[in-house]
Amino acid sequence: MRFWRSTVGKKTVMAVSGAIMLLYLVFHMAGNLKVFFGPDEMNGYAHWLRTVGEPVLHHEWFLWIARVALLAAVVGHATAAYQLSRRDVAARPVGYRHRRARTSYATRTMRWGGVIIALFLVWHILDLTTGTVNPNGEAGRPYENIVAAFHTWYGNTIYIVAMLAVGLHIRHGFYGAAQTLGAGGRTRDRLLKATANGLALLLTVGFLSVPVGVMTGIVE
């Protein structure tokens, strides 16, 4: 189809899927902060997530719908990113001898940052969704699992690196997505950049507060 064939169409897919994931991250991060209110509140919140939409929806249906939507977003985002990246690399087959970095760090790390985030996603699901690699790994007890995860050095390292990558990715991604969706404009660009920076900072700090909380003993 013409839309998907074009670079602008693929970028639109990336922008929309990115926006869906970003929206999800905002809720995810807010939910994470429940950990600071103790195990009951956190585990209760996790339980409530499975009952959203009842009785219209069956138990856990909302969660599964969300999971399917997110999976579609991830697949769409990654496929478009992969195809576009291949195009972009092919469009500059011979580089310049005189090399100098000119674009911002966030811009330059979009591709590898995306790969890091994708790998983290796998780990994160195995860790805190299925519990496969979690030292505690007890279903229905996310609070305990979180505390266990962030008691390991590797758990912390992986998580912190990934969250920094997420922050950088959002910083350029939000701005880029806005441009792709046609929201850019000379006067609006500063606002968009500020919003991108704000969102990136908010999410990074919000997500990192949990392992920091565990490490400093605020969350026990």
Partner: protein, 250 residues
């Protein structure tokens, strides 16, 4: 000034190329960059060597023919065309790297000369208003609000030099394409072909092998005519609008 130049020399599209070092002496700071290359070329001819091929024509910054990458920057350290860059922007004793535009869609023809005909094909696929000679209504029949006229003009200033593609890490032609789309789509005269124009031009741009836009902003930083980055966003908006309408006008 005395300078060391490292210039990309490549005999033809098939031959491999390499950076070749030349020394030039007694360069006046008042020379333009191209006049400095002229001086080098005259010396090379007298020494029995082949002069360096480079595109140039008007030498006043409007035709868009010239353009080389100087120390990694398209058109060099100033925001202007290569012909309007003067040697006073450099220091005595500097080493200057001179390379051709690099993009799959701009194959090297020889030395610093590249083939930018892909740009012409993008324009040919929709960068016009269909108005056969003789068919025009009286010029004042359709007033154009001044803001639209100003927007159109600002984007119409593009000289098609290709610096945006050369500077973009993805070799993308989005700034070039969007400048023409925004120019014509801002005007009532461009309205009947508003949808087909953007869809066809984007298709051609992709087919020519340019990369996609990742909003690095490098294009607009090197653009000698200051085409704004917002141009790309506006084109994206036009593209989405046209797609929603299935490519048909209202």
């Amino acid at each position: 000034m005395n300078l060391t130049l490292r210039i990309w020399r490549q005999r033809d599209p098939e031959s491999p190329g390499a950076m070749t070092t030349y020394e030039v002496a007694d360069i006046s700071p008042d020379m333009s960059f191209l006049e400095m290359l002229d001086t080098l070329n005259e010396e090379l001819i007298l020494r029995g060597e082949e002069p360096v091929a480079f595109d140039h024509d008007c030498r006043e910054g409007i035709c868009g023919a010239c353009g080389v990458v100087i120390n990694g920057d398209a058109h060099g350290p100033e925001r202007t065309t290569t012909c309007q860059l003067h040697m006073r922007s450099f220091e005595d004793g500097d080493t200057i790297d001179v390379e051709p535009w690099r993009a799959a869609a701009f194959p090297v023809v020889k030395d610093l000369v590249v083939d930018r005909s892909a740009f012409d094909r993008i324009i040919g696929s929709g960068g016009y208003v269909t108005a056969p000679t003789g068919s025009a209504p009286e010029a004042h029949a359709t007033p154009v609000p001044k803001p639209s006229a100003d927007t159109a003009f600002e984007h119409a200033e593009c000289i098609g030099c290709g610096a945006c593609v050369a500077a973009c890490p993805n070799g993308s032609a989005m700034l070039f394409t969007s400048a023409k789309v925004v120019h014509l789509n801002s005007l009532p005269q461009g309205a009947p072909e508003r949808e087909s124009r953007v869809l066809d031009m984007v298709d051609t741009m992709d087919a020519e092998g340019f990369g996609g836009c990742t909003v690095t902003g490098m294009c607009t930083t090197v653009c000698p005519k200051g085409i704004p980055l917002s141009s790309i966003s506006t084109m994206n908006r036009e593209f989405l609008r046209a797609t929603r309408r299935g490519g048909r006008p209202d």
